[in-house]
């Protein structure tokens, strides 16, 4: 650092010119984009129009890969993924938000202890979690889940064999794994709300629920947008959790997500062209849904203002 010399107003030229500085600073990002992302992205787009038979054999086949997406399997994977994402967002946002609000409340017992505890699942092996959930939701009468619903007089269920109940288990597994992380996001956002806002609320006579709805929620909107965005992405590209839950035995394909289908087609079935086409549709889907979400949340309005 030449900046060591102490003299007022160093002559800032060349790379030190404040107009050049930001470009130097983002240079690693540009190099990274060009070096790591550009080729694979273009290559994926090209491959989605090709049939690939080996390291050097590829042939353009027009839209044929995209036409194959109209088969049952893809539609089913799409439905599974969409259903999962909807539930994922519906559960993995409000529940952690509620807990974050409770943790931040004055009356919370041992908030630091619980906050740390809730974070631990995110650090644990997903393979083991898969085994635990697989056994807990086993089809036998003696499995934990069946005993629990048995208390309410319900007949034992084959949880992991039907698409509705298996989505439930998958969402539960995801909740188990990511709840702590989302709590941290929300909790820290709530902590950064200026205290005088709440004071003002109190003076206006707002109760807890009103304060939460009218003060807390609007104040953490940016965090909400961010968590929503990564949750939507996480939902659509879910793969590991499904693999951990079923291993390779995926009954009737009910747990197969888009990424799972892409992985199977491209890698297990050696059909890279089709896999690329699936990938491109996934990309468009995530963009589309997130754009709508961002528009609805008024993200761009704020950016431009």
């Amino acid at each position: 650092m030449q900046s060591a010399q102490k003299r007022p107003r160093a002559k800032l030229s060349g790379l030190n010119d404040p107009r050049i500085v930001p470009y130097v600073m983002i240079a690693p990002f540009v190099i990274y984009l060009l070096g790591v992302y550009l080729y694979p992205t273009i290559s994926t787009i090209i491959m989605s129009f090709q049939r690939i038979d080996g390291p050097t054999q590829a042939e353009f086949i027009g839209l044929s890969n995209y036409n194959k997406l109209l088969t049952k399997n893809y539609i089913m994977a799409l439905k599974t993924t969409a259903l999962f994402t909807v539930w994922d967002v519906a559960i993995l946002i409000p529940v952690p938000l509620l807990f974050a609000a409770m943790l931040a409340s004055k009356n919370a017992p041992l908030p630091n202890f619980f906050k740390s505890l809730y974070f631990i699942p995110a650090l644990t092996s997903i393979i083991v979690a898969g085994i635990v959930f697989r056994l807990a939701f086993g089809s036998l009468e003696t499995s934990i889940a069946n005993r629990v619903i048995g208390l309410f007089g319900a007949a034992p269920k084959m949880w992991l064999q039907f698409s509705g109940s298996s989505t439930f288990v998958l969402v539960l597994l995801t909740l188990w794994r990511w709840m702590g992380v989302n709590i941290v996001y929300f909790y820290s956002a709530i902590q950064s709300i200026p205290a005088d806002l709440h004071e003002a609320g109190k003076i206006d006579g707002a109760n807890t629920v009103q304060a939460f709805l009218h003060i807390t929620l609007p104040s953490i909107r940016p965090t909400l947008i961010y968590v929503l965005t990564i949750t939507v992405l996480g939902g659509f590209s879910m793969f590991t959790e499904s693999v951990a839950l079923w291993q390779q035995s995926n009954p009737g394909g009910i747990g197969r997500t888009i990424v799972g289908y892409m992985y199977m087609m491209g890698i297990t079935k050696n059909n890279m062209g089709l896999a690329s086409a699936i990938g491109i549709t996934l990309l468009l889907l995530v963009f589309g849904v997130n754009m709508i979400q961002l528009l609805l949340m008024g993200f761009f309005k704020k950016e431009d203002a």
């Binding site: 390291p55 036998l140 009954p251 890279m272």
Partner: protein, 424 residues
């Protein structure tokens, strides 16, 4: 000065030392498998190979991956032409994926052909294209039934009296009545229940000419038989979906089912995962559909193959042949892994009868169960489109029939239609 001299001498020693090491340095190969069990055999054979070889000695780096991951990595490596091992296990349901287009596996014909008379060739045909043998198996995979004699005895049944599938179904009713337990379980997320039954019955998913056989009457009849056992309550959907699920092992170990039909290679699962059944389990041949019909089905397997991109194709082939097709390799595949060997000259030999952990567990010479059936093994048609068919069986046929409880004829028709659509 002396320091410099010392350095020179040291350097010289190092160069010479390296040179002499180089001459004797073993050739390094890599091998991938998805079945940790196989390592025991590969290591045992590697030691023996190095002891007898006149050529360079081998050092093999053996890597285990989970089933899907290993096949995915192999595909990626072959696709990109980089990072493939020299030798790889490839599961039978996946094998045809690697026989498409420009085949990246090395033919083993020069080793297979001289041994044709002593090998169970229908096994190797599963891994062949146009007369080239690309994969070598470790076992026949003849299907047998594992009976829990404790349950059967409680119901007053001698397992040796079960000769036909009708006997089996009838025994099931007695078992259910007397003990309240089920006779058997059908897999709902894998194919080791449906496929052996269909195959032994003379059916298959595809014909050699590529046409679809999935909706033939024999398939519907077989599915109907299985479906009827479920209706009777004598068979249930396998807890956990398949006979490799943790949930199933625990449930079976507690003595909840009177039998399970699986390929012979399942012997070792009882030893490792169901220890409480020691001495209670007996192995018997598959019941027959008809007199004169096939006595058994050959199911599952691993075609071990040499990858063309290897720098030492010839050496890798030499080792692979030694480790899978030699007399001793066959014997060890039984002694170490509990497989039914692919060498026909082993059957009936004294070598196979030596006491070992498998005989001890089953308290019996379990080979008796398959020896009489090997003259009548149903063929299987594993053409290029077979992996697609296998998937449909695993994920739709078994599921629709045993979980969604659809009608067998409908299931067969739907699956056949789906298969036709997929392979067009």
């Amino acid at each position: 000065m002396s320091k410099k001299l010392l350095a020179v001498i040291l350097a010289l020693i190092m160069v010479l030392g390296c040179a002499s090491v180089l001459a004797e340095e073993p050739v390094k190969l890599t091998l991938w498998t998805f079945q940790e069990l196989h390592l025991q055999l590969y290591k045992d054979q590697l030691e023996k190979y190095n002891a007898q070889t006149t050529g360079p000695k081998l050092e093999i780096d053996m890597q285990v991956y989970p089933y899907e991951d290993m096949h995915s990595k192999l595909t990626l490596a072959l696709q990109s032409g980089e990072g493939a091992p020299d030798i790889s296990d490839i599961e039978i349901n996946m094998f045809a994926n690697y026989l498409k287009g420009d085949i990246q596996l090395a033919p083993m014909n020069d080793y297979v052909e001289p041994l044709k008379d002593v090998l169970v060739m229908p096994r190797l045909d599963n891994y062949a294209r146009q007369g080239n043998y690309y994969g070598i198996d470790h076992h026949i995979g003849a299907c047998v039934v594992f009976y829990n004699t404790e349950i059967l005895e409680a119901a007053g049944i001698n397992y040796l009296d079960i000769k036909t599938w009708d006997d089996f179904a009838a025994a099931g009713k007695t078992v259910l009545e007397k003990t309240g337990k089920v006779m058997t379980t059908w897999e709902t997320s894998d194919c080791w229940s449906i496929y052996p039954m269909v195959s032994q019955h003379g059916g298959d998913w595809l014909a050699e000419d590529g046409s679809v056989r999935m909706d033939e009457q024999v398939v519907i009849d077989t599915l109907t038989f299985m479906d009827n056992m479920m209706k009777d309550g004598t068979a249930i959907a396998t807890p956990g979906g398949n006979h490799h699920a943790e949930e199933y092992y625990g449930w079976m170990n507690q003595g909840n089912s009177a039998s399970v039909m699986m390929p012979f290679w399942y012997t070792d699962r009882f030893l490792n995962y169901m220890p409480d059944l020691q001495g209670k389990m007996k192995v018997a041949p598959m019941p027959l559909w008809t007199d004169g019909g096939y006595k058994t089905a050959q199911m599952g397997g691993t075609g071990t193959a040499v990858i063309k991109t290897s720098e030492n194709v010839e050496l890798a082939k030499d080792y692979l042949a030694f480790a899978t097709m030699s007399y001793d390799a066959g014997l060890q595949s039984w002694l170490l892994l509990g497989f039914d060997p692919i060498r026909t000259d082993l059957y009936g030999s004294e070598d196979l009868k030596q006491d070992n952990k498998f005989f001890q567990y089953y308290e019996d010479n379990i080979f008796a169960a398959i020896e009489g059936t090997l003259d009548s093994v149903a063929p299987t048609c594993l053409i290029d489109t077979y992996p697609v068919a296998a998937d449909i069986v695993k994920q739709q046929m078994a599921y629709n029939l045993f979980i969604l409880r659809q009608d067998p004829a409908t299931v067969a028709a739907d699956c056949a239609e789906e298969l036709r659509m997929m392979i067009e």
